[in-house]
């Protein structure tokens, strides 16, 4: 008898719970696995749910390597996310595949977005419609190891500000063994990391060129492109201050304290935080005329094409919240990525912060490459450098081959 009563109570409880969840809207948020990003999102969801008790947000994560495949596969199965994170360079793929829907201009007015966000957010615009908004943006900077600087007799408070000083610092900090092999690099060379952005958006421009023309076609197959490539490969072949593959990866070499300088992004701040030595950050070196450039990128949040009716309204609320100033503060503190809204990012406190300031300054003159196939275009840059370093191909021939290969990727994506 008592058991029956318990069972009835349990049944009633369950049906009550079911009733409760039937009234609330549940939406799914998808992003890739990266510890601090998942933690930050957990905090945002908690705060959002407290303010909107009728909405529950379920965070779903996948390993980065599988992420796009999962999103695509889910769409084919008709079970896509309501709010989804995507790299800005994937936008065309996601729009063409109808994985996401344009943002409703009534909820997210274009004029407001353009006034409040950094201009790089325009990479999420197709025609008149915005397809997503970022919480945070990333830019590049030069990380340097203060201990190695001091050891080499350089002033750790005065990191190099132009390419000539940069090279001099690299030469001063490089250590070699008796056989001439590098045992501690002046600068990391890792085209598979962030160096291809440095070459494409910074070095080419500093040599007077542009990576792509107005139509989005390859425009670097000229003297500027060649000079930029030569500057880069000379770091290994002529001045011998770095070596591709040294310590396997550039960031690993820097972390191990075996590289004095490395170019990397805001997202590396977390990983470098517990480096067992003092390090600093400075803006990417300017050229002889003081011209600076930078590459900025971001993951945006978009609304999945499957979200309709109640779920769409809930998704819009959630998207508005995770791109709000409050969310950006949380993201900055947990993940370390820069706020995508100008007034949240460019505060006095942030501009006085020795680590955040160089990245923020970089944002003001940053360019955002319009990628069609990020992995494929990066591979073209990796191969270009390898042909020069490993096969002894001339700078001009390798550059021309890279331009042809990258243009083929662009053509395949746009036609």
């Amino acid at each position: 008898m008592r058991n029956k009563a318990k069972l009835a109570g349990l049944a009633a409880g369950i049906s009550f719970l079911a009733l409760g969840s039937a009234q609330a809207v549940e939406i799914e948020y998808w992003q890739y696995v990266f510890d601090t990003r998942v933690q930050a999102m957990d905090q945002l969801i908690e705060k959002f749910e407290a303010a909107n008790p009728d909405i529950t947000v379920k965070q779903v994560t996948f390993p980065y390597a599988d992420y796009q495949t999962r999103v695509v596969a889910a769409k084919v199965a008709g079970q896509g996310p309501d709010v989804v994170q995507l790299f800005y360079g994937w936008l065309d793929n996601f729009v063409n595949g109808e994985l996401i829907q344009p943002l409703d201009p009534a909820v997210f007015p274009a004029a407001e977005i353009e006034a409040e966000f950094f201009p790089i957010v325009s990479a999420m615009k197709r025609g008149d419609a915005y397809y997503g908004l970022p919480t945070a943006v990333r830019s590049l900077a030069l990380f340097y190891n203060k201990a190695l600087f001091t050891e080499a007799g350089l002033d750790p408070a005065n990191p190099p500000q132009n390419l000539a000083d940069f090279l001099a610092a690299a030469e001063a900090t490089t250590k070699r063994d008796g056989g001439g092999n590098i045992t501690s690099a002046g600068v990391t060379l890792d085209m598979a990391g962030q160096d291809h952005h440095w070459w494409r958006e910074v070095l080419i421009r500093q040599n007077g060129g542009v990576p792509y023309d107005e139509a989005g076609d390859v425009a670097y197959n000229d003297a500027a492109g060649a000079a930029a490539l030569k500057y880069y490969t000379d770091l290994q072949t002529a001045s011998k201050v770095g070596q591709v593959g040294f310590m396997d990866e550039g960031q690993a070499a820097f972390r191990a304290g075996l590289a004095a300088m490395t170019i990397d992004g805001t997202f590396r701040l977390g990983a470098f935080a517990d480096n067992p030595f003092e390090w600093g950050v400075t803006e990417l070196p300017a050229d002889a005329n003081g011209l600076r450039s930078n590459y900025s990128s971001y993951f945006a949040n978009a609304i999945g094409s499957g979200a309709q009716g109640e779920e769409l309204a809930a998704s819009q609320k959630f998207l508005a919240y995770i791109t709000s100033p409050e969310a950006m503060e949380i993201w900055l503190n947990v993940v370390g990525e820069l706020p995508a809204r100008r007034d949240v990012a460019l505060t006095e406190a942030n501009l006085a912060d020795p680590v955040r300031a160089p990245f923020l300054k970089g944002l003001e003159y940053a360019h955002t490459t319009k990628f069609y196939d990020e992995a494929g275009q990066r591979q073209v840059a990796i191969d270009m450098v390898n042909r020069v370093l490993l096969e002894g191909q001339s700078i001009e021939d390798s550059l021309a081959a890279a331009a042809t290969a990258e243009q083929a990727i662009i053509d395949a994506a746009t036609k």
Partner: protein, 310 residues
């Protein structure tokens, strides 16, 4: 209701009784076989056929597939990267299979005679086979690094030998990746060879010794011929393994998969990238069909070459 089912049962049992024992056996056999056959048809044969169809389409996961005839194949045969990858795949096969078989035979042959710590030594050889390919790939990747962290280059340096680029060379990279792949498979092949060696009746050896045959003659006239079934199995098995090499290559070159400059890229890695980085499922399916044909042709060829001559 009740009487209906009884008459039904009676009818069916009468039908069953009419079959001969032989027919009954066949029916039972097929009944038991039906499940695995259905299973294999569903998860193996149907997808295989589907892949043949996909290779004739431009499917990209997102849009419905359109029939485009042999365009994928034309594109593939005109692509220099495909031919490079094709060549790599055969290099893995042509270096990997003979080398691993000779090594494992020699080790098995001598290990078979070792009594001292036999089990322990055998376990040592077998251990790499149990190790995850990914973990192994990464450890070897570090072995191959330049100084200061690369163990191999460190040893070379202390001997006064010039540093080798290993994974950072278009010439050395492929053999460099192949070494751990061979090493990992060795344990399995040794065990199989040793089982084969043990299966040869000792009377043959005794007779040969009484007849005054030398060790070399015994090896050539008795051991190797009688190991033929074992050898055929291992040749086919390891050939398929090397033709499908992926884990070692991918884990040792993740920064630039199959690089540098496609020097280590096998067909399977190219298929993976075409399908899951570029989402060109049709094109990837065409590459898969080529891989399937190679595997089939190589296996049939080997079985034909090594068939019993009657």
């Amino acid at each position: 209701m009740a009487s209906d089912s009884i008459t039904g049962e009676a009818a069916s049992s009468r039908l069953w009784d009419r079959f001969s024992i032989k027919t009954k056996r066949v029916i039972w056999a097929w009944t038991f076989l039906a499940l695995p056959i259905l299973f294999y048809a569903g998860i193996r044969f149907y997808p295989t056929l589907q892949a043949f169809w996909l290779s004739l389409t431009d499917w990209d996961l997102l849009r419905p597939a359109n029939f485009i005839g042999l365009v994928n194949y034309q594109k593939m045969f005109a692509d220099p990267v495909f031919w490079k990858v094709f060549q790599n795949t055969f290099l893995y096969l042509l270096i990997g299979t003979p080398l691993s078989l000779v090594l494992s035979f020699v080790i098995a042959f001598y290990l078979d005679r070792v009594r001292f710590m036999h089990g322990f030594i055998r376990a040592l050889y077998f251990l790499p086979f149990l190790t995850t390919a990914a973990a192994m790939g990464w450890v070897w990747r570090w072995f191959y690094q330049p100084v200061p962290i690369g163990v191999i280059n460190g040893v070379l340096g202390s001997l006064g030998i010039e540093q080798q680029p290993f994974l950072r060379s278009t010439v050395q990279a492929l053999p460099t990746v192949l070494v751990p792949a061979i090493w990992a498979g060795l344990g399995f092949q040794i065990i199989i060879f040793m089982a084969g060696l043990r299966a040869i009746p000792s009377t043959f050896y005794e007779a040969a010794r009484i007849d005054g045959l030398g060790e070399w003659a015994i090896l050539r006239k008795i051991t190797i011929p009688l190991l033929k079934p074992t050898t055929v199995f291992l040749v086919v098995f390891s050939s398929i393994g090397f033709l499908r090499i992926f884990d070692q290559v991918y884990n040792m070159t993740t920064n630039d998969p199959g690089g540098p400059l496609n020097a280590t890229k096998p067909l399977v890695l190219m298929i993976y990238q075409t399908a899951f980085s570029s989402y060109q499922m049709g094109y990837a399916a065409a590459q898969t069909v080529v891989l399937f044909s190679i595997l089939l042709a190589v296996s049939l060829l080997q079985l034909w070459i090594m068939r019993e001559k009657k």
